[in-house]
Symmetry: C2
Subunit: 354 residues, 2 copies
């Protein structure tokens, strides 16, 4: 595959543009010439970075001006100290001088006399097909997520709060090198409170259905997975609910091959739940894209992209039945030319600590 910057240059060439103005963090991390840009722009983003075929010009905030200067030797870094014009004003002045005929921008931009500004997130388009570096960092994000999730579930036992459980999982991910990690637990019976409406200080009880979702960032890449269990034996209906979610996950993830239509995969999950009379309790999306953020493809009730080789997306059917509880399973899937590969490796049924 040609390099990221080569592919960007080709797109710009085709549309007669001389530069790409990136204001979104995912695009900045994607195109910066550095082995791990998340170590430079470690939080937030630079107000603007201008990528052209042969140069990179960074307009950093005061917070990261020195870091960019010291750690990005191949870029032109506009100085920013207290009292200097704002980065966006400096960008404006720079563009007026540069006299570019046309630039493509991932966000709305100020009007520059003599320069045509086209708003088009070509970065998001290029980022969709994962390259070697994407995959290496995503595997690491999945590995750290696996570690956090298994650590959390090994801690689960009646009498602990869900916060005590996610404390262990969160710490494990930070120790392993995630630059950010949060875990969202949901526990209960008799409701389908889902992500909200649950006090995380609530004490886990025998017979609860418990699921934990999470988000971690590793080298700027999202790690994301969900596991669900019954605490103890549960009743027959709860066991059927959990088994049905597992079944829906397996069918949906196996259907994630190049050329598959997202809306058909979604309908497969709906049909699986409808067979038990539970279709109305599958209330959310099935998939969001994975990568540096704002990624395609996505699959939800209203729409679904057609999958392509090189895609990466979540697969997360969930079912939240009043009177029984909620369950969701989520793995990270890479759509290779040969078919779906689970980047998430830990078993679908996590081991509990009692």
């Amino acid at each position: 595959m040609p390099s990221r910057r080569q592919r960007l240059a080709e797109i710009l060439d085709r549309s007669g543009a001389q530069a790409f103005l990136a204001q979104s963090r995912p695009n900045q991390l994607y195109f910066l010439d550095h082995p791990d840009p998340s170590t430079v722009i470690s939080r937030g983003s630079a107000p603007a970075i201008l990528f052209s075929a042969d140069r990179t010009v960074i307009f950093p905030g005061i917070w990261i001006a020195n870091a960019c200067r010291d750690m990005l030797p191949n870029c032109e870094v506009i100085p920013c100290e207290l009292g200097d014009p704002s980065p966006m004003d400096q960008l404006d002045a720079y563009l007026r001088k540069a006299g570019l005929k046309k630039i493509v921008s991932d966000h709305l931009s100020p009007q520059i006399a003599g320069t045509e500004v086209v708003v088009d997130d070509v970065g998001a388009v290029l980022r969709r097909c994962k390259d070697e570096r994407d995959l290496a960092f995503m595997r690491e994000a999945a590995r750290i997520s696996d570690l956090g999730m298994s650590t959390a579930f090994k801690t689960v036992r009646p009498g602990l709060t869900t916060l005590e459980v996610v404390a262990e999982g969160t710490a494990a991910m930070l120790r392993a090198g995630a630059e950010y990690a949060v875990m969202n637990p949901a526990v209960g019976i008799g409701t389908y409170y889902l992500d909200s409406g649950e006090d995380p200080r609530r004490v886990i009880k025998e017979g609860d259905m418990l699921f934990i979702d999470m988000a971690a960032y590793v080298h700027g890449y999202l790690g994301d997975m969900t596991r669900a269990v019954i605490v103890g034996e549960g009743n027959a209906q709860q066991r059927e609910l959990l088994a049905t979610v597992h079944q829906a996950y397996r069918a949906a993830s196996q259907a994630m091959v190049p050329g598959a239509e997202g809306r058909k995969i979604y309908q497969g999950v709906v049909d699986c739940y409808a067979a038990k009379g539970w279709a109305k309790y599958f209330v959310h999306h099935l998939s969001h894209g994975l990568g540096l953020g704002g990624d395609r493809p996505g699959i939800n009730r209203e729409s679904g992209d057609v999958l392509q080789a090189g895609d990466a997306l979540s697969c997360e059917p969930g079912l939240y039945v009043p009177g029984l509880g909620g369950a969701r399973v989520e793995n990270m899937i890479y759509v290779s030319a040969k078919g779906p590969e689970e980047l998430t490796k830990c078993p679908i049924v996590p081991q509990l600590g009692f």
Copy 2:
């Protein structure tokens, strides 16, 4: 002090309005009739809640409809299941039927024929003066923050990454009951990279200046503090830098009395740093409000509120000197009629683990 709802009713009365439409989470948590609304709306917010003198009508998303129904018996909860009209459409229909002459809204709202909608965040105004419940929850948020910060610093020693350090502090806060907790470390010498531009996987070295900021939510209330240290002895200039930040913190926090002008307190910090030739390295705000979110008063370079008894705000001077390192101290301050009270209790100089 009259109750929150009484004070709201008075404001509405004065402006001839019959209800307050709250879409922001802080306002929803503030006015809901429940001993701890953060256990019901535990993440995110309801799309809309309508507060009038004698009733509360909630338009929840599908995620929290059942939780609101079960846990808020004194409210009218509009059902929301898969296939129902959206909460905002239901609100629209409700308002059309209700025939209210005038409502006040904290966000832009759809136009309702026959109803005047005034956008005015009266919730934020009422929330500024802290009541007993605010203070109880804020003290708890400060206590848990203290615990997390001291735990993190007790872990600091050369050879560990900053992520290994914040893992311990974060876990301590979650175990203690914070519903959300993150810590942002910054370590380095020779830069003032501040919050960004630092790889959190970086290994701590003897002679580093290290500071850790954090954010925790406890019963919906922000816990927020920062501590700074030199790892080991450091050099004379580093010690002077840290002592200067401590001095600026003490003077600024002691000046936080009712009637004090924020811009004068800010200027005091600038003057303190200017005496050492470091004024240009104090690049951020001094204070933001504390509470449920989006709180006043604030103090920054451009503006500063006049402080009032009942205010709660951060006090966080910081100084980031190229070649030496960065330091910031931040405590949570309550402005009582008698003067400033530090809600943050742990010592300004944290104990290290070596």
